[in-house]
């Protein structure tokens, strides 16, 4: 780990100021991706802006037909929130199956979504539910947020403050974990609700994406059988020692099927 300056602001405004003042600053919340990268010297920020002291970025609340979850809310809190469990059980289920207990006790919604690791869980839920990202300066639709591997629409001095999840009629999540890292090798988050029928695929490609053929099939027939015959093209999918693109393509269909079955 290289030396860096450390700041712990107590408001979003102060955090934005700190980030704006230093082009090489990094925001950190749970630190589950950033700290290992720092320890491996793969990242060399001049300063870290620790968001964990910003009270306004915490908590789960219901507003009308949506859940608004603060960016600093930890996976364990989402998994065990009565509000989330009753409104979007698939989201609580997803949070309960991120990493292991230690990860869930530290990792945050905002950290996972802004990092946009292709093998992370949360981006699938955000895209699969058609959520809206609330930042320090604007609101961004999920469809416009995830731009590519580890890349989002967030600007350098823009902080993800909360995510607004519309409450669906049905939603389900299924994933195959990489046997070594236990990150997602291929996953599917499906929903039917105010944002239509959505199928978001994570783990399989460089960035979470919507599987439109499956969405069309589910729109006319919401059933696992409807997606069972749909083959995901293997082109452009990830390939590594644990799963070829072809295997991942197969898993996309299997996980979509399971996600629909879980959604009921």
């Amino acid at each position: 780990m290289y030396d860096f300056a450390y700041h712990k602001p107590s408001s979003v405004a102060d955090a934005v100021k700190l980030l704006a003042a230093d082009p090489d600053a990094k925001a950190v919340s749970g630190g589950h991706t950033l700290l290992p990268a720092l320890k491996h010297r793969l990242n060399k920020p001049s300063s870290l802006v620790d968001l964990s002291g910003i009270a306004e970025m915490r908590g789960v609340r219901r507003e009308g037909n949506a859940l608004i979850i603060g960016a600093l809310t930890r996976h364990h809190e989402v998994a065990n929130s009565e509000e989330v469990k009753s409104a979007i059980p698939a989201l609580a289920y997803m949070a309960q199956h991120i990493g292991d207990q230690q990860v869930r006790n530290r990792g945050t919604l905002g950290g996972s979504v802004s990092n946009n690791d292709p093998a992370a869980d949360y981006p699938a839920a955000v895209l699969g539910l058609g959520a809206t990202i609330h930042t320090s300066k604007r609101k961004i639709a999920a469809d416009d947020f995830f731009l590519g591997m580890f890349t989002t629409a967030l600007e350098h001095d823009e902080i993800l403050v909360a995510v607004e999840f519309p409450i669906p009629e049905k939603a389900g999540y299924a994933k195959m974990r990489n046997p070594a890292s236990r990150y997602v090798m291929a996953g599917a988050f499906v929903s039917k609700g105010p944002k239509g029928v959505r199928v978001a695929i994570n783990g399989a490609a460089a960035c979470v994406f919507r599987q439109s053929e499956m969405e069309a099939a589910l729109s006319s027939n919401w059933s696992a059988d409807a997606v069972a015959g749909i083959k995901q093209p293997a082109d452009d999918l990830n390939s590594d020692i644990h799963g070829s693109a072809e295997y991942r393509a197969h898993l996309v269909t299997v996980m979509a099927k399971r996600a629909v079955a879980a959604a009921g």
């Binding site: 491996h40 046997p179 295997y247």
Partner: protein, 789 residues
């Protein structure tokens, strides 16, 4: 005074004495030790598999804050290379190729992770910062990454003076007799396989601290070692030329070894040498990434095996050709692993009359390979137990019956195999029947049908294995190329008021010696285990012993203690005879009490020890004061644990995922001292065996970059990858050591991989395959089920 205590002797499942320390975070590991004024070393390692070093510029790094020194191979010109502890001879009688293994790379780097330079600085961070400013001018060379590449004509030479990349071409057994057996066979079966390379991954990374006393000239090395005396001998005599009297090696609490901490590593020599050079302690601790590319790896064989059977299924002959990867340099015991710890095991539990095996050891541009839990024996067992299943399938014999038909009969011991070993005892029929019963072998088809209804393929697999451990008779191993003796030593120090300290040359790094050895003392001398302390791991405290590996600590080290206790008892009887005014021949001893036979006259061990240290009324002219005895024990033979492992798996048809659903182990480990510790040892070994079979695989890319270089990509088994492991023992006693013990540390890792793969292949019986290579990953299985290969 006799105190009634719960039985703590041989056979009692007492809780481990060391666990309070370990479980409460109060172990004292090498990295927990900090010496006054200590500096920190960082090792700059090669990023290339094979490259010529055209120059190393350290000037910028030397000017960095906190840097005390930077060393490259030029600074180490006066010290020796890292020695190899075993010399194999080729078929033609010539010695193996033994290229120099420099402490720091000289002229070339030969694997990713090869140490190139050392930075010593005030802090570890500063040392690492400075290392980033060392400029190494590499000319990258093509690499021989696989054994096939290394043996191809014109292959890049790992060592310039050995263009063939061959370390040795060795054989064992009777070729003519084996060929004749094949000529007469009714059936011949061929099986080819790769035994996957593994990364050991002990929980505690390696660490070393060099310390030097400028006033006395004494060196101290604290290191994560399974055998401090071996390190003292190799490093002192061959690398740094330090006399034993001036070199102390301390291996404190060590968090797992599995073989990987047997060897003498470059970092030990570096910190010891640098501490003397700088006149201050120097500490190095590996991070996990360094462990992946600098700890010796395990396994990595490519083999072809052929079995000849007669019409009734009796094995007539076995022919094996194996290539074994040595990596870039010879690690301490690497040459013996695929020879005397492998090919000598190819008889297994079977009475095959003719066996011939050839082994080629090959250098490649990869991390050195050496012994890893089981060391050669898992490779032999896997080859043989898969071959028997393949033979059963091909010939139509039932796989259990085929095994039974070829078992060495229980009344045939001692049994001389055609590959050098003589088994002293065993009962393979009983361990088989007990395992079949426990695993519900007879009712398996019902479970398979039930699983099929759930969309899963269920399979059951068996392995009837044998291993040779308790290493080893010194004269025998010496004749086979060992450059060391493999006896063990124990000192029993009975203190004046009757408590006992045991000094042992073995080393505990997870095995529970502090408990098991104390139980030996409790059983024989009648001293509560609370009053027995086991001292190990410090050459300044213990006599010269050989350490812990090859499941030897109890069979060899425990036997030394037993011999030393015999001496204590013999001396005690003489003292007791004096005190009770009896003839020494009339004094009996049992668990702490000396008694004049046929009388109620007794003396306790404490009475005797007090008399020995306070010799007021004492035959001082005939018996020396004190009650402390040392015994060295050189075993007469290896010990031969064996048994039966049965694995049951389920495969998810849709995804190819393999789940362990049940595992049964019935092992003959000889006399059991602590059943709970044996159960834990077997379960741990089985976990590693399941890891090898289903999960673990070390992967290099075509350039020799280590792809599986972290826990993100290398699949270590987790608890949820395993299944309930039922462990039972069926004992036949070892006939040649005083305790009747055989060893339990490696049986789990040896017996289990073929049982698991046999189960996977059985689960896939409806598909047209005869084998699945390890690790049987989900994509491999999915490809088979979905006709992709």
């Amino acid at each position: 005074m006799n105190v009634v205590t719960p039985f703590e002797g041989i056979g009692a499942s007492v809780k481990r004495k060391e666990d309070l320390r370990f479980l409460s975070g109060r172990g004292q590991y090498t990295d927990d030790i900090n010496r006054p004024g200590q500096a920190h070393a960082y090792i700059l390692r090669s990023p290339h598999a094979h490259a010529r070093i055209k120059g190393v510029d350290t000037a910028a790094a030397a000017a960095m804050p906190g840097v005390a020194a930077i060393y490259t191979s030029a600074d180490l010109a006066a010290i020796g290379g890292i020695p190899c502890g075993w010399q194999i001879h080729n078929k033609d009688g010539t010695p193996m190729a033994e290229p120099k293994h420099p402490v720091l790379a000289e002229g070339k780097v030969r694997h990713v992770g090869d140490p190139v330079a050392v930075v010593v600085a005030e802090t570890r961070q500063q040392a690492r910062d400075a290392a980033e400013h060392i400029h190494v001018d590499y000319e990258v060379l093509p690499a021989s990454v696989t054994m096939a590449q290394a043996q191809a004509p014109g292959a890049p030479a790992v060592h310039d003076d050995n263009p063939s990349n061959l370390c040795y071409d060795w054989h064992i057994g009777d070729k003519a007799a084996t060929d004749a057996a094949f000529a007469a066979a009714a059936h011949t079966v061929v099986f080819e396989t790769t035994n996957n390379r593994l990364v050991p991954n002990a929980m505690e990374p390696r660490a070393a601290i060099g310390d030097y006393d400028t006033t006395t000239g004494e060196h101290t090395l604290y290191t994560t070692s399974q055998n401090p005396h071996v390190i003292r001998l190799l490093m002192g005599a061959f690398v740094l030329q330090i006399p034993e009297s001036k070199l102390r090696v301390v291996a404190p609490d060590v968090g797992g070894g599995f073989g990987s901490k047997i060897y003498h590593y470059a970092e030990e020599a570096i910190v010891t040498w640098a501490a003397a050079k700088l006149g201050r302690p120097v500490k190095w601790t590996a991070d996990r990434s360094e462990s992946f590319m600098s700890d010796a790896h395990g396994r990595d064989h490519i083999s072809r095996a052929e079995l000849a059977l007669d019409a009734e299924g009796k094995f007539l002959g076995l022919r094996v050709h194996t290539q074994a990867n040595m990596g870039a340099y010879l690690s301490t015991f690497a040459p013996c692993v695929p020879t005397y710890l492998y090919a000598t095991l190819l008889a297994g539990v079977y009475s095959t009359p003719a066996i011939y095996a050839e082994v080629k050891a090959v250098f490649t541009n990869t991390v050195p390979v050496d012994a890893y839990r089981g060391a050669g024996r898992p490779e032999a067992t896997y080859l043989l137990e898969r071959l028997v299943d393949v033979a059963a399938k091909q010939t139509g014999f039932d796989k259990v019956e085929l095994r039974r038909r070829n078992f060495i009969p229980t009344d045939a011991f001692p049994y001389q195999t055609p590959v050098a070993l003589q088994y002293d005892s065993g009962d393979y029929f009983s361990t088989l029947e007990q395992a079949l019963e426990t695993a519900g072998w007879a009712t398996f088809e019902q479970r398979r049908a039930e699983a099929k209804a759930r969309g899963r393929l269920r399979g059951i697999g068996i392995s009837t294995y044998l291993e040779a451990c308790g290493i080893a008779p010194s004269a025998v191993v010496g004749s086979l190329g060992a450059r060391a003796g493999l006896y063990e030593v124990g000192t029993i120090r009975v203190h004046p008021t009757g408590s006992v300290t045991v000094l042992t040359g073995t080393h505990s790094h997870g095995q529970g010696h502090e408990t098991t050895f104390a139980q030996l003392i409790a059983d024989k001398l009648g001293v509560s285990i609370a009053n027995v302390d086991i001292v190990h791991g410090d050459t300044a405290k213990i006599p010269f012993g050989m350490g812990t590996y090859g499941s030897r600590s109890l069979a060899v080290g425990g036997s030394a203690m037993d011999k030393a206790m015999d001496k204590i008892i013999a001396k005690g009887k003489r003292i007791a005879a004096h005190l009770m005014e009896a003839s020494v021949e009339d004094v009996e001893f049992e668990r702490g009490t000396f008694r004049v036979a046929g009388t109620d006259k007794t003396k306790s061990l404490t009475d005797i020890s007090l008399a020995a240290y306070v010799p007021h009324n004492y035959p001082i002219d005939e018996i020396e004061p004190g009650l402390e005895e040392t015994a060295f024990y050189d075993p007469k033979n290896f010990t031969y644990p064996g048994g039966c492992h049965i694995a049951e798996v389920e495969i998810e048809i849709e995804t190819g995922e393999v789940r362990m659903v049940n595992f049964t182990a019935v092992d003959d480990v000889g006399r059991v001292i602590n059943p709970m510790i044996v159960e834990g040892q077997v379960q741990g070994g089985v976990a590693q065996g399941i890891g090898q079979a289903l999960l673990e695989g070390c992967v290099y890319d075509s350039h020799g970059q280590l792809i599986s270089a972290s826990m993100m990509d290398y699949t270590m088994p987790r608890a949820d990858d395993l299944a309930p492991v039922s462990v039972a023992t069926h004992t036949t006693l070892c006939t040649h050591n005083p305790l009747g013990v055989k060893g339990c540390g490696e049986v789990g890792a040896i017996g289990s991989p073929p049982a698991v793969i046999n189960a996977v292949v059985d689960a896939l019986r409806d598909y047209d395959i005869s084998h699945v290579e390890m690790p049987a990953t989900q994509e491999k299985i999915w490809s088979i089920i979905h006709g992709k290969r």
